[in-house]
């Protein structure tokens, strides 16, 4: 994996964790149990963030979180496919 792709991946991970922390802090503002759910299940935090993005002013945070997650998942899948193809596990078309 090239240095640029690794840098993009690292940036996406950092953006994701920062967005997650922002959303979890807002969730704790709504109640401790909600915050706990946000910690143990980042998926729930993401859904909660989307449903409350207008009330909590999380529009930009949620956009950044989703984009960074999509890019990091995409890069990971592409990398794994490349590795599998290189290993001969998946025939290259």
């Amino acid at each position: 994996m090239s240095v640029i792709v690794l840098a993009v991946l690292g940036l996406c991970w950092i953006v994701s964790v920062v967005c997650w922390i922002i959303v979890v802090i807002r969730m704790f503002g709504q109640g401790i149990l909600t915050g706990i759910l946000g910690i143990i299940c980042s998926l729930y935090a993401m859904i909660w963030g989307f449903l409350n993005k207008d009330v909590q002013g999380l529009g930009a945070v949620m956009l950044a979180w989703v984009l960074s997650t999509l890019v990091s998942v995409g890069i990971t899948i592409a990398y794994m496919s490349t590795m599998r193809a290189a290993a001969g596990a998946v025939p290259v078309p």
Binding site: I14, S16, V17, Q30, G31, L37, I40, L51, S72, T76
Partner: protein, 144 residues
């Protein structure tokens, strides 16, 4: 909505449930089902932001795999991955049952839940349990 007034001043999941009701539950159910299905198929799922960025597993890391192990009946694997998985499954199942209850009964359950949340000792005890479990796992060398 009959229950809205009763829980309007409350906070946390009770208020969320009162505000979004079946809509929130449906979205969470679909997303959770998708996540568990992806993990069960060995395709991963939504990556943990903390573990991805820092390499340190979050308090919930291993939960999806633990739920898959629980659904397969592999209790030993479930305990190894995340011992609190049954609690989350129980909470999810309870939420699903509450969502299909008649309006009046649902309002009563939400009211009881908001009373439980307002007693700080219960959520704080849950938070303490989660943090203790997380730190114990980190101390034992757990890396997700």
């Amino acid at each position: 909505m009959e229950g809205s007034g009763a829980v309007a001043g409350s906070e946390g999941p009770a208020r969320a449930a009162a505000s979004f009701g079946p809509r929130l539950l449906a979205i969470v159910a679909v997303a959770a089902g998708l996540q568990v299905a992806l993990v069960a198929a060995g395709l991963g799922g939504l990556p943990c932001p903390l573990a991805s960025a820092t390499g340190v597993p979050c308090p919930g890391c291993g939960m999806s795999r633990a739920i898959v192990a629980l659904l397969r009946g592999d209790w030993a694997e479930m305990l190894r991955l995340h011992a609190l998985a049954p609690l989350l499954v129980l909470a999810g199942a309870s939420a699903a049952i509450v969502a299909v209850l008649p309006e009046s009964r649902r309002a009563r359950v939400l009211r009881a839940l908001s009373v439980l949340e307002s007693r700080r000792i219960v959520p704080l005890a849950a938070l303490l349990l989660l943090c203790t479990y997380w730190l114990a796992r980190l101390a034992s060398g757990w890396r997700g």
